[in-house]
């Protein structure tokens, strides 16, 4: 039996989430290594139109599960669909991205399928026909190599940890027939409250600029925000800045905050407490700006500037704007 791979593709408001395309790219790589088929699963109320966007990243087929009850993410409904899709396709592995939706759905679906699940993986490898994944544990202080025993098995993949790869295919489209009684969905999503400013979320951004204790107060976060905007990235913060009430909890990177793996992480006035490093140490490129040359963050940094961030940040923002011709 070929060990087929199924990738759940997340969409919100008619948009495919970028981490899902990364998961699809990794799914293609793993399926190729296993000599298996790759299927993408779209769940929603009107999602068929999104199938064409997936073709570039390699699915052999796209399964469509459409139903009015699937317009918003609801754990029980999506669990029923995902579990059914895994069963009917006899998929060996199901990948989801480790987003808010992916993590929630994967856990509940794994229980329904009596399956193993490795959460928030940063690496996948097939050797001798067997999949192994790596995932940071103990807040990134260690990395576990995990074998998923039994079939099926699930994994959630950390956003931005896997590259987006081109693998054009002309996937076939299959519809998943659904038996979804309304009474089975008890927890209902009744609304969504967007954060005040329509900003890029720190967990999704390719570039993150974070401020820490040295920002001294909420007003100075304007420096962080300006640089983030110039770079087209998101603003983040350390726990110290959040606990001081300078910025909201949604910006917090680290343990008890969000885990990020952007292409570029710029830590400003952040000393590098272990809880902060837990949230950002798998960033591709790390930049530290700090007065204290001995700050632990410099041990992790690919690039650093020792100096006063109040002098450096405005110059940096100016320089980025000039480079981009803004």
């Amino acid at each position: 039996m070929p060990k087929d791979v199924l990738v759940f593709v997340e969409s919100r408001a008619g948009q495919v989430k970028r981490p899902s395309l990364q998961a699809l790219s990794e799914g293609r790589r793993v399926a190729d290594a296993l000599g298996a088929k790759l299927r993408a699963l779209l769940i929603g109320s009107q999602v068929e139109a999104l199938a064409s966007e997936l073709a570039a990243h390699g699915p052999d087929s796209v399964l469509i599960a459409e139903h009015p009850l699937l317009a918003h993410y609801q754990a029980e409904a999506f669990t029923a669909v995902l579990a059914e899709a895994v069963r009917t396709t006899a998929s060996e592995y199901a990948f989801l991205s480790a987003t808010a939706m992916g993590r929630d759905l994967a856990a509940r679906a794994a229980a329904r399928l009596e399956a193993g699940l490795a959460s928030d993986c940063t690496h996948a490898e097939v050797t001798a026909g067997e999949l192994r994944v790596k995932r940071p544990v103990y807040s990134g202080k260690a990395v576990a190599t995990v074998r998923l025993a039994g079939s099926p098995s699930l994994a959630t993949l950390r956003p931005n940890a896997f590259p987006l790869a081109a693998a054009p295919r002309t996937p076939s489209i299959e519809k998943l027939s659904l038996d979804l009684p309304e009474s089975r969905i008890r927890a209902r999503t009744t609304g969504i409250k967007a954060s005040e400013a329509a900003e890029i979320d720190v967990a999704e951004a390719a570039i993150v600029v974070s401020g820490g204790r040295a920002m001294k107060g909420p007003e100075n976060f304007a420096l962080i925000r300006s640089l983030a905007e110039a770079l087209g990235g998101a603003m983040g913060a350390s726990r110290a800045a959040v606990d001081a009430g300078w910025v909201g909890h949604q910006y917090q990177v680290g343990q008890t905050g969000k885990v990020v793996s952007p292409m570029l992480y710029i830590a400003c006035g952040i000393s590098g407490a272990i809880q902060h490093l837990a949230g950002m140490s798998t960033s591709k490129v790390i930049v530290a700006i700090n007065k204290d040359a001995e700050a632990p963050i410099f041990k992790l940094a690919d690039y650093g500037i020792v100096g006063d961030l109040y002098e450096i940040l405005p110059k940096l923002t100016e320089e980025v704007r000039r480079m981009k011709g803004q």
Partner: protein, 262 residues
């Protein structure tokens, strides 16, 4: 309201991790074990609900002898009694096994609400809450930052990327707590003394009627083959003693030409 809160004992987040000679687990000697921080938000929320609406808060944990201290901590915060799920057969359980153990134990009582932390610090998975909900055939809401319970229903706000999802559900239900839900209280001296007199019931595999092969290392589907310290990133390029403008220019150049991220 009958409220259950499930907690896990984990190494303190400040702990330096040393890997054992077996290459698959961490050295536990000298490690300070605490109740997982997210579980404290769950405990606090359970206590507040009880204070408002009356009822009972029962704390559950799966673990060896040492895990009893986690239950004592929760009892000292104000929980009424503890259930310690302890059996050699439970050792080496993955999230699937732990969920089976907890679900079997929770099934023995009809709880109105079952609370978890959004994830245990250490294994960092966030699986057990939703898994238990599925095994008990209950609705769940995970990563909750605000919760209101009234007349047999709950309204919760859960954190998603860049927004909050508002979810309504009938009780009984399962909730997993995120930072922001509340400020956990400290155990008072009075609470610590009172906790010594509170009941902790020990429950074994046989009491739960589970097969030994479905839990512990025997039932695990997620197998840690190796544990390593992450590769060091190597020495970076640090710019110092430079004019701010020159340093900014040089950094942008390096990010564009060398790191190729701009």
């Amino acid at each position: 309201m009958k409220i259950a809160v499930c907690v896990k004992q984990v190494p303190d987040t400040e702990t330096k991790i040393r890997i054992r000679a077996d290459g698959r687990s961490i050295e536990e000697a000298g490690v300070n074990f605490v109740v997982s921080p997210y579980d404290e938000y769950a405990v606090e929320e359970a206590l507040r609900l009880k204070e408002k609406q009356g009822g009972e808060v029962v704390a559950f944990t799966v673990g060896d002898e040492r895990a009893a201290t986690a239950l004592r901590t929760v009892l000292a915060m104000g929980a009424d009694r503890g259930v310690h799920l302890k059996d050699p057969a439970f050792e080496g359980s993955d999230a699937l096994g732990i969920s089976r153990i907890l679900a079997a134990a929770l099934k023995k009582t009809s709880f109105d609400l079952i609370l978890f932390g959004k994830q245990a610090v250490g294994t960092d998975q966030g699986q057990v809450g939703p898994r238990v909900a599925e095994l008990l055939d209950l609705p769940h809401v995970s990563v909750v930052v605000s919760l209101a319970v009234e007349a047999g229903r709950l309204t919760a706000e859960r954190e998603i990327e860049g927004a909050l999802e508002i979810v309504e559900s009938p009780l009984p239900a399962v909730i997993t707590a995120q930072k922001g839900l509340n400020e956990p209280r400290y155990a008072s001296l009075k609470g610590i003394l009172a906790a010594k007199k509170k009941e902790i019931l020990t429950v074994t595999l046989a009491d739960l009627g589970l097969e030994a092969s479905s839990v512990g290392a025997a039932g695990a589907r997620e197998i840690w083959e190796k544990l390593e310290v992450p590769p060091s990133r190597g020495a970076g390029k640090i710019l110092k003693d430079m004019e701010p403008a020159a340093a900014a220019r040089e950094l942008v150049r390096l990010l564009r030409e060398e790191a190729k991220v701009l």
